[in-house]
Symmetry: C2
Subunit: 220 residues, 2 copies
Amino acid sequence: MLSKCPLFNGVTSSELDVLMKDLPFQIKKYAKGQMLAQSGEECRSLMIMLKGSVRGEMMDVSGKAIKIEDIEPPKPLAVAFIFGQNNRFPVNIIANDDSEVFLLPKESMLILLQRSAPFLKNFMNIISSRAQFLSDKIRFLNFQTIKGKLAHYLLQLESSQQGEIILTKSQEELATLFGVTRPSLGRALRDLHNDGLIEAKAKSILIIDRQGLMALLRKD
Amino acid sequence: MLSKCPLFNGVTSSELDVLMKDLPFQIKKYAKGQMLAQSGEECRSLMIMLKGSVRGEMMDVSGKAIKIEDIEPPKPLAVAFIFGQNNRFPVNIIANDDSEVFLLPKESMLILLQRSAPFLKNFMNIISSRAQFLSDKIRFLNFQTIKGKLAHYLLQLESSQQGEIILTKSQEELATLFGVTRPSLGRALRDLHNDGLIEAKAKSILIIDRQGLMALLRKD
DNA sequence: TTCATTTTGTAACATATGTTACAGTCTAGT
DNA sequence: ACTAGACTGTAACATATGTTACAAAATGAA
């Protein structure tokens, strides 16, 4: 299972067995809704998702949260926060479902980095991608109005689905992903509909004016 | 000079000579205002500041920009964006002053990573810190009102300076750092003043009600 | 089916921030 | 000392988003 994790790209599971034989590790289970780690907490172990799903979300003191991402097997988490002078979680990690996580202590991880060149390379790639991901988040969260974010989101969905888009998330979820309130998101959706850019009916959305949506991305 | 760069912590300059002897590199000069790299451009080299100062800023199509950071010697730049599947600059890099930059091609950098354990370690630490930095940016940009950002900024400044704070940046600069407009920033400053939290007169600011400022951080 | 719960639609209103504009002030260079 | 250019203070107004509230609709469990 572990060998599917992008961190172990290019490492066969038998090689992995050898690499890890003498390294201590742990497997932890979490119930749905349980918190795996809290923002500010020290990050001592690499974590790799085995089962279930967790999310990382930032929360301010007043309770407003924005979701940064979902993480599902076989992806690792906290990769970019184990090292550095301030090795703390920047987000809360919460189980979306009953989940199982593989834990490898920082020290073991250092050993692994020395033992396996592919692992090292994967690690550097992943950590770099994280920086890209976070940069993109900043852009997304700061440079778009709600309509812009919606347009972005819908156009992205459209490229993977065909024609009609079926939202898999509730408006509530979308709102926290966008860092806005639910009524505001609803209003933006309605506006896009009224402006004739989309045909929205409950969870089903049809893009009518692709050009118009793309203009929103560039406009504000 | 290079040996002062955090990437070469623990490497003496004579060791550095040996490490780099056969590696090709480049030194480039940029005039004030010149663009070193554009957002979206591929990132092929590690860059290390030798002289001057540059800034990284995100810009949307309409021209609104927010400054992410200033980078000055002997700091490296683009460290976190050389690797990963999408090795592109997420920001524009612009010279604040006439500047000089050391360029090490990606390939040379890979060699260096293999040759020097301290370099590798520094690299991983720096790249991790970048992820932390970006996370903090997200928090800062999304969870604070303008007043909150100001409070944050002022409290931070106060800890380094004594008593009276002298702003070194213009309101215009602060505004782009906060991702807001200049009049809005001015208004926020005035509000803090009128609310009796600070005594602001031109560039000189005196914190009067520290508790009040801290409350702003937690409030919104 | 029926009922409880979640999700959605929507409205009135409050607030924060952007936009534009202009005048006052400071500062550096001549 | 004078002037051009930048910076600051501020105002009126426009707009986007948040807040609160409630009803309609959908969904899922009994």
